[in-house]
Symmetry: C2
Subunit: 579 residues, 2 copies
């Protein structure tokens, strides 16, 4: 039997495209078993919109169009397993129960839900128990004479937080019914983070060995605001990785049903959990006194670049932007963002840079920005804010009868820049890329409505230490495209005379390790002190972190690269006791 892997990328709620894609399979008479991602018909993650009447109306219309189509078709030998939602309505036509299911689509009959997802992830960025009702049965479907065991995404990840293990249940069920499983398929919409794709393959192999059958994993592709779905569908039989699809791109493959070699299936260790709730929130620290952050390897840098390319492009395309806009400061973060955007630029897209020097901007900041833009072949426009800043100072003094001082005088510069940047963005309909890094966001070392602005944050899930690592990696790969001076100069916000980050923050080496410990949930301030950080520094960093929640609350979406990141999976109250 032929198996078709459809690794698709459709915008959330783009019902027409999903429907037409499905119709084509029958129109082109492609025989075999067609596998689609989880919630192919609707998109994922839907959050609240799966409850909206507007969404439900359009979705049910599509389902009924598909049913009408299928009933008229005559093609034999085409079976599609499609992820979608199965609604049960109340008398008022509102959802009483929603199931995340695999539909079977064949010519001559309507869509039939044959399996309901059993494990609903409900941690970090996941809220599936909020919306969906779990299934309580295994499904082994006979298709073309073959026994196909079905799973949906999380079903392959049993853990201490889930009461059941659908893989093991499938084994017991098959044995009881005396069914020889020929193939296990998993329809997925699995968010990516660095390293996760490898864990999936490892786990797929374990399930293959458990059920003595090949395992096919079909994952969706898509950048959904901050969350990336990398595709990377694969086929394993025991320890053999037989096939793999593209990463971060739609793909399609037709394969023969793979064989499972019983001989090789001897070292059976199927219950090693590799990616559970428990392992998700593990601080990525390198032992030492004090420990340091794990710096990214070249491979991780490459992976991050791939993901950032995808995340930026997906947001731009799904929101209809063809132009990008970056504010350069002469510092590391904005230089890296601009370089990344330049590297990933596609035909028909443009990127512009603005440099907005203030009273405290060093000449070097302009020179380095200019040099960078020359290297990248990007037009740089200067829009000095010195004059506006002075004018505001004067007007403030005149009207309030006192001088603008300290933080007020520092922040107004950053906010002027935010306003001017967005004026140009409005004028050109370009997408502003935020340039804050994870360390800054964690300690609130940024100005709300100032340098924190943007449509999406590129570096918001990268600690400053790894911002440098990634810059150096890019320079290795692209012949020192980022001027060395940008990488080596001491970080500064240039909002007052002689300001340097090191006046307000511990060195990034220590800061980042402390932050990772705190943000992973694993380490308390007490733990950090025990690990060799100074009590003074730990308390200072914890204070900065906990007092800046209000800034993160209003932050733009951050492209998610790590298991634990700010954004949708990070929910912390603003008002709380600080200790």
């Amino acid at each position: 039997m032929k198996i078709h892997l459809h690794q698709t990328n459709f915008t959330i709620a783009d019902f027409d495209s999903a429907r037409d894609y499905l119709f084509k399979i029958f129109e082109e008479k492609k025989e075999g078993l067609h596998l689609f991602p989880e919630m192919f018909l609707t998109g994922y993650p839907l959050q609240d919109i799966c409850l909206h009447k507007q969404f439900i109306d359009r979705y049910l219309e599509t389902v009924s169009e598909i049913n009408k189509f299928l009933k008229k078709r005559k093609e034999k030998g085409i079976t599609c397993l499609i992820g979608g939602l199965d609604y049960t309505m109340d008398q008022e036509g509102l959802p009483l129960q929603i199931r995340n299911v695999a539909f079977k689509a064949e010519a001559g009959s309507e869509l039939r839900p044959i399996y309901t997802k059993r494990l609903l992830p409900n941690y970090d960025i996941f809220d599936e128990e909020k919306y969906y009702h779990p299934g309580d049965e295994c499904a082994i479907e006979k298709i073309n004479g073959k026994n196909i065991a079905i799973m949906i995404c999380e079903d392959m990840w049993p853990s201490s937080m889930h009461p059941i293990d659908p893989g093991l249940d499938l084994k017991i069920y098959a044995e009881k019914k005396n069914i020889k499983v020929d193939l296990v398929v998993n329809l997925s919409a699995s968010p990516w983070h660095i390293g996760k794709d490898q864990k999936r393959i490892k786990r797929g192999s374990e399930i293959s060995k458990l059920l003595h059958a090949p395992f096919i994993y079909v994952n969706k592709v898509g950048g959904e605001d901050e969350i990336l779905f990398d595709g990377g569908s694969f086929v394993v039989a025991g320890d053999n990785v037989i096939d793999g699809l593209k990463r971060f791109a739609p793909d399609y493959k037709e394969i023969e049903i793979p064989l499972f070699s019983e001989e090789k299936a001897k070292s059976n260790k199927p219950y090693e959990m590799t990616n559970t709730w428990e392992s998700l929130f593990k601080a990525e620290l390198k032992p030492g006194t004090p420990p340091t952050l794990n710096e990214w390897t070249d491979k991780e840098c490459e992976e991050a670049l791939l993901a950032l390319r995808f995340g930026i492009q997906e947001y731009a395309k799904k929101c209809g932007f063809k132009k990008f806009l970056v504010a350069l400061s002469g510092g590391m973060d904005s230089a890296l963002v601009l370089t990344i955007v330049r590297i990933i630029l596609e035909e028909g897209q443009e990127v512009e840079a603005i440099y907005m020097p203030g009273l405290y901007s060093a000449t070097m900041s302009y020179e380095l920005s200019f040099e960078l833009c020359k290297n990248l072949g990007i037009r740089l426009t200067s829009l000095p804010i010195k004059f506006f800043h002075s004018a505001i100072r004067n007007s403030y003094k005149e009207n309030f009868k006192e001088s603008m001082e300290g933080l007020a005088d520092e922040n107004i510069q950053s906010r002027m820049r935010g306003a001017l940047l967005y004026a140009h963005s409005n004028q050109k309909n370009s997408m502003v890329l935020n340039t804050s890094n994870k360390s800054e966001i964690a300690v609130g070392y940024s100005t709300l409505y100032g340098d924190s602005v943007g449509a999406i944050s590129v570096l918001g899930d990268i600690y400053k230490s790894n911002v440098f690592t990634l810059a150096k990696y890019i320079n290795k790969k692209f012949e020192n495209i980022i001027p060395e001076g940008i990488i080596t100069r001491p970080p500064s916000a240039e909002l007052r005379e002689g300001q340097e980050d090191s006046q307000s923050l511990p060195p990034y080496e220590r800061l980042d390790a402390m932050l990772e410990g705190m943000l992973s949930y694993r380490l308390s301030t007490k733990d950090l002190i025990e690990k060799g950080f100074s009590e003074e520094e730990v308390n200072k960093v914890y204070g900065l972190y906990t007092r800046s929640e209000f800034k993160r609350f209003q932050f733009c979406p951050i492209i998610k690269l790590n298991a634990k990141s700010f954004g949708f999976g990070y929910r912390v109250p603003i008002c709380k006791k600080r200790y």
Copy 2:
């Protein structure tokens, strides 16, 4: 037996204050049964911080201090039922399971969890299934010879989304064990919205009649970012409301154990659901063709004022602000916000107003702002942006070789105001109150980083029609303190010559009704057209709504007044197909 109702308000994670409050009860030898709110020891809602090692360390320390204290005490006849969390840890000292429990505290023994909350709300603003493990048993505790049945918050609200009904279970359990229930207590942390307090009492009465025992409800008080807990604890026996505690303020009462009159308990209708998932998302529309929004009654206006006072004050106090700052435009929204702040001002607090006229600000805008501030006795400072605006236009033209136009030229004015407002806020350490209303937020009729800025939004859960209703109510109550001209002039953003809201939006009367229909989840565009709205207007409004998700994503916390509001309980992806 004496019953003590402790309607407390402690900041989230303020363990020391909760502990000391508890100690005092034993030190003052207050005999009887002491009832505390749900999660009294920790605060609520905790969101992710209940998983943070930092939080857990401090909480467990507090629990062990309390245990040490209790074991040493000798007072007889004091029993406390306290809401708190019961952690089960894994080998690494991280939470394996967290239970939302009622602890029993008595002299001579440690805190003992005697009941675990059974129904975990997991809709809208609630994510309890994400964090907590549900209980599966009833608890009827013998205290001082009386049988006390225990519930925690949601346990009293069975619905089609919950598989069980703890009230009914209690009845069955009591009958099976042949226990006569003497009292039902509910320890609550129940977020408020307009009208909910009345529903609670009605439901409490139903449970009292079901179990043939008085029902005591102890609710927490607190403004937790956008969510308000109103207290309003009460005692009912059958249809009799015996006692009630303050609303939106901490309170304490000592009462005798109430009696339940068997005679009166005849008309037994305990299973009318009054406040379920199903009723929560009901559009508040008044029938008509097309329907209109339900305008607030005087009682609802008074209730909203009470809630806004509480929400603003709680945020200010918990974040340490003593000064408020409002940008006046001469329009209705900012005038109402300033008036509300003035009305609620407490000793030691100040409020300032800034008026920042631009090129298109009418003279009337200044005159009305001035008149309002005179009425309110508030200092108004003018900080004109005309000059900055012209300077930016010139500089933009000089550097970009083109004129700033359209949206760019409109928005820069709003963003300049945002920047200047925050400059003054930084200078004075004052809390900026956002002045956007719910209609504007819904259709994106505001400038991101411009008029959308603020620490907290006062009107963000009030449709424009009700903004007017509330203003008129205040004028009735406070002798036309808001100049009539502000209420009657046509709404305008004054960002271009002759601009009026009505050029871009349908009249608020229709707009608000359409929005409420859409946002309640209950009505699709098709439904709205069927109800008599024009197809063109409906599609326009839906388009504006769905395209402005990116603005809501970065919006400040909005004080929640309605069952369905923007904010934490509203989660919608930015990138999605628009139809």
